[in-house]
Symmetry: C2
Subunit: 263 residues, 2 copies
Amino acid sequence: MTDRDIKVVKIGGNVIDNDEALQRFVADFAALPSPKILIHGGGKLATRLCERLEIPTTMVGGRRVTDRDTLDIVTMVYAGLINKRIVAALQAQGCNAIGLSGADGGVLPAKRRNPEPIDFGYVGDILQQEVNIDLLRTLLNGGFTPVFCAITLDCDGGGLLNSNADSVASAVAIAASTIVPTDLLFCFEKRGVLRDVEDEASVIAEITPESYANLRSEGVINKGMLPKIDNAFAAIRAGVRSVIIKHSDELLAESGTIIKTDI
Amino acid sequence: MTDRDIKVVKIGGNVIDNDEALQRFVADFAALPSPKILIHGGGKLATRLCERLEIPTTMVGGRRVTDRDTLDIVTMVYAGLINKRIVAALQAQGCNAIGLSGADGGVLPAKRRNPEPIDFGYVGDILQQEVNIDLLRTLLNGGFTPVFCAITLDCDGGGLLNSNADSVASAVAIAASTIVPTDLLFCFEKRGVLRDVEDEASVIAEITPESYANLRSEGVINKGMLPKIDNAFAAIRAGVRSVIIKHSDELLAESGTIIKTDI
């Protein structure tokens, strides 16, 4: 694909909802050496648009159900407005960004999640083995920087599905890692995995499988962070070199929590 | 780019607003031999969404003014919903489509139209000399089929602009024609340029500069068609081999009006 290591960077909705934070992030991301790939979450715009259009939001177990109307809204907001705004901002910073959904080039085929026991509607789980690495290879070789939203291709129906942006980031990083060493960076509103959630200075610099076992048994890591770290280890087991969890303002700094194997 | 002739196909809003016509067209376009590029118009979805959100539509001289809110809506609808729906439908038909706006890969840089004498807002005219042919070349060489909406990159501001889909189609075809012979097809709801607008059987098979002069002086061609044919000749003067105006249901047929030079 390229003989240089790849960085796959994910930004969450909190950054997208904050214009100034997004502009700062965009400038930093543009300055990050290529090759690189950006994955962005959705933020609150889709929810606000659903409210304005009086499309009811159905939540099951704290998660939104994606019905047909909601799928149209998230496709408009994620693949349209947010994706193209980020692309235009990156272009203005000299980064040759190209915005994509998982449907484009068939890069992220997904399967609609089993409606039993809970039907989440048009929600898709990515088929990791079928991620189309050809498009990534073509674009990165051409000097482009892919920017993905979390809309994926329903490989059964010819339609679209709503996927989790963290999962898209992991799937893209795992696919890239089959070709060159790949690091996966999750940027959010905290400085890393914190030993004390109230203290931004308490960043845990490194987590290995061994230290993770200790941190869990000590109850140090808060519950919301556990699935993120479990996913990070899953990405590493699947081939990603390291996963870094850090603040979106510190993309270019040596900071955050690095998750890697002991080796 | 590829050593084979390219077809650049444009479909208008009337096809997009009609689900059955769109599905028929998608199946035909998927069956068209590669390399090929699709450009789609907008249809009425954006206008309807503006109405539902109570965003007032301002028209000047029969043309919509694109204010900031309207730009967000057309970006959502054209670059998001319509573009990704068409891509997913093409993927299901085995066509490896990749959806793009003119901002992606900086492929269609545009300049905001002079606000004098009429300020149309965020409306962009494409900078033909700066069309980024590298991305088209990269994608076509990789076996992908680009699918464009008419959102372009504001080369002055880092933002997006709303452009005319016919102009996008011409700009893409002219850029492609610098590398290989390129034909430009405008698909709409009539069978071609008609001698008698009430008679679908009265298609004029061929228009050359000479016959066009005659048709104009005889008053045969109706006024709405004149700018389309003028644009077609402009594309041909800029390097496109031929322009064909035909019905969206007859993409694969030898039909419609072919516009070309005498040579």
